[in-house]
Symmetry: C2
Subunit: 468 residues, 2 copies
């Protein structure tokens, strides 16, 4: 954000009194939905809906203008068209509002006229040093304060992962995938056109936000790419930052310019610089969520040596495909571990190849055996984190308790892949994740989760990324 | 399969009388589970469990040996250890059984001794020209005949997609993902070590299997790679074949050798040759399922020109990232379409950029508007297939009927991405897919689905792949 010195963003994320411009009784209008979001989300502060001609919307008294509101507000959510939004921002500045969220599109992403209008909007905000989220944004959610101001009324589980997204659609995709993965969202910030508050400002804020443990970012392109990557790199030293950069092609670049008015820029250059700054990057929304989930639930490993326990070999092959390029190694097991494994499975059993990945074949279906093998591998000094694969089976229960106990005993990171469908694994997912053990059902997700943990584990031990 | 002339595999996939070697009353043994699979799966033929010392298992009379079974059987499922399996195959050959499935591992994947044993197993099968699935396999499912012979008792929705998998774990992953994606499986063949029946034999069979419309393949490596790719290419001229090849690294290669005794070989070479033969390849199990789903539900497009309709731009950027490298183009809209779109959205509405991707922004939330825009784009001669994105919203229903109607009217392929979580989209997924419109919730899946349709659409029009 332009101006002299940092602006306090806490009133934007944790407002006590909120004005909503442009509320109406029409359910397909943004103003109606933002107000419903705020009410539905359980906001406990005061809401002041504003519209010159309405008396009541959704049971709330409506004020004719900001001047009619009886007390100062912290935040204004502006649900007006692009022209009226500029005037509303002016009035907010005059009234001493501490932050605004501007939903309207119709600015630089639409061409020259819109670009000039956006300059007016920015000037209005900067004149009053008014932090502004957007324009052209779905809005913001602070689940830590039950403050929902997106124009999609939602209620999502609370947790430690915060998301910064340039796109409402991919932001929502991420939120819904997080619901499916059983993890909670702390804050969601749709940065939109990043006209005043950009990625770096949001990262700066989240760096010191104690309720955020992991930050996920979806970016198409940013005007201040240099500041973004430097800030991401700095913040990533304090808490994990995972970045999904889209717009890797000239075709996409053409399109991002009419999305948020940004140029997607050189995809590879972005990736390379993010890596140089020690930031973990992924290739899809589902990988973004998978990585954030592991980072939110698990301790970081001491190193990059991955143990794999399974009773079916194929998923290990798939995992290794993903793990090796991410700098993970699959170390040999200690002799002591091999002896322990032999003891657990017995000598008269079908041949199990005693190496890492450890494939227990049919023997692995005995839950005590599986739990014992998981313990043996976690006890191995060669193993920094363990990936455990188990197949859903009509006759047998999943070894959820055994794995949780093994994790508790050895404190090392443990990631589980249960081969099963959504319905079949949901109860175990909740159960295990409440105990801090992330559960996935796709081998490519468990691999990206492991790679993310290893990345930040190694970084904590002192990576050689740029420091500037 | 070695030998002179083709062997009839129909008795293997559609047996009327089945023997199961090695059934016991112990629920964690393969023999128990295979029998339970057969019973639980609703097989209507006759089952003859075999064990020298049991009288009854799971309510079925047990026979002491194959010789004691009162009538000839078509197929034997052998749930014995690796040594006893060889003898059982011999006895099956002598008794005129028409096919065997061998579950046991412990052959070439375990080293030299196992390799010699596998030679004996192959010799036994070939002596009697006995088609053999496995060894070292999860088994086979023919959902078209309610015949389940895997040692994971399952009951899965029936459909038109058949899966050939070298790995039980990835095979099951695929099956469970198919359940989540709401599509049915026709046949599942775990080829295991491919000692006698390999990928090419299974493809040969499925080529002429009328109940199979699409074939998905998971392969680590095959001894007869040349025959596999040639056969896949030939079959892919008749019905779509989608291949996920794993084992792209030396690390994985080391591991695949102790999995099914195969060398994963050069990953890139495999991919290149498959492409040369016109076979569509993917990068994960979830992409395999996403591609097979679209191919099973949709007609093939006439060309590679993709229209995108959305009310949120981010997913389009992500899709284009995936579509462009797959040879899809995002064509401009006809002038006529632009006029039609203007008429639908009205002239006094917020600026919608009239191009492809068409982002209707807030207006798109009106279901009739969204349906009208979908129709306008499908009517455009420039558009061969349409991708439609819509976000789940508390206040509004998803435009499922509108999209189904548009699809019915124009007959062109239509793929839908509803941004939502599993629970929120499940009913619409079932509803739309019953009407032949595939629904996804991840932009990367809709993109791979579109790429698969375009690939086989272009191929039908005459691709220039090798013909040998």
């Amino acid at each position: 954000m332009a101006g002299t010195g940092p602006v306090d963003l806490r009133p934007v994320f944790y407002p006590k009194r909120v004005a909503v411009f442009g509320v109406t009784n029409t359910p397909d209008r943004v103003g109606y939905n933002v107000l419903e979001s705020i009410l539905h989300g359980g906001f406990t502060g005061k809401v002041y809906p504003i519209h010159p001609r309405h008396e009541q919307v959704l049971g709330c008294k409506v004020y004719k203008s900001l001047e009619d509101v009886p007390e100062p507000v912290d935040l204004a959510v502006i649900c007006l068209n692009q022209y009226a939004t500029v005037k509303a921002v002016e009035s907010c500045g005059r009234a001493g509002v501490k932050g605004v969220i501007c939903n309207a599109g119709g600015y630089r992403e639409t061409g020259d006229v819109g670009h000039d209008l956006e300059k007016c909007l920015i000037a209005a905000a900067e004149k009053y040093r008014l932090p502004m989220i957007g324009p052209n944004t779905l809005g913001m959610i602070n689940n830590d304060g039950n403050f929902y101001s997106t124009f999609y009324p939602l209620k999502i589980p609370a947790g430690k992962v915060s998301i910064i997204s340039q796109s409402g659609g991919i932001g929502l995709t991420t939120i819904h995938m997080a619901i499916d993965e059983g993890i909670g969202i702390n804050k969601f910030i749709g940065v939109g056109n990043c006209s005043n508050l950009g990625f770096a400002d949001c990262l700066d804020y989240l760096e010191n936000d104690d309720s955020t443990a992991v930050i996920g970012v979806f970016i198409e392109g940013a005007a201040d790419a240099g500041r973004f990557v430097r800030t991401a790199g700095r913040v990533a030293r304090k808490k994990p930052v995972v970045v999904y950069k889209a717009g890797r092609l000239a075709e996409a670049d053409y399109y991002t310019q009419t999305h948020t008015g940004s140029s997607a820029g050189s995809f590879q250059l972005y990736r390379d610089i993010l890596h140089q700054h020690g930031v973990f990057t992924v290739n899809s929304a589902s990988e973004l969520v998978a990585a954030c989930k592991a980072l939110a639930l698990q301790p970081l490993p001491e190193g990059n040596r991955v143990g794999i326990l399974t009773h079916t070999a194929g998923p290990s092959v798939v995992m290794i495909d993903h793990l090796a390029p991410a700098g993970c190694v699959i170390p040999p097991l200690h002799e002591e571990t091999v002896s322990r494994v032999k003891q657990i499975i017995g000598s008269d059993n079908p041949p199990v190849v005693l190496k890492n990945p450890l494939d227990a074949a049919g023997l692995g279906f005995s839950r005590p055996t599986y739990g014992g093998l998981a313990e043996a591998m976690l006890a191995d000094d060669n193993v920094d984190l363990l990936l455990a694969v188990y197949c859903l089976h009509k006759t047998w229960e999943l070894p959820a308790i055994e794995l949780i106990n093994a994790h508790k005993k050895y404190k090392k990171p443990l990631i589980v892949n249960f081969v099963g469908n959504w319905q079949g694994c949901r109860a175990d997912q909740d159960f295990m994740q409440n105990a801090g053990v992330p559960l996935y059902t796709a081998p490519e997700k468990i691999a990206v989760a492991a790679a993310a943990l290893v990345h930040y584990g190694m970084r904590r031990k002192g990576g050689n990324d740029r420091d500037d």
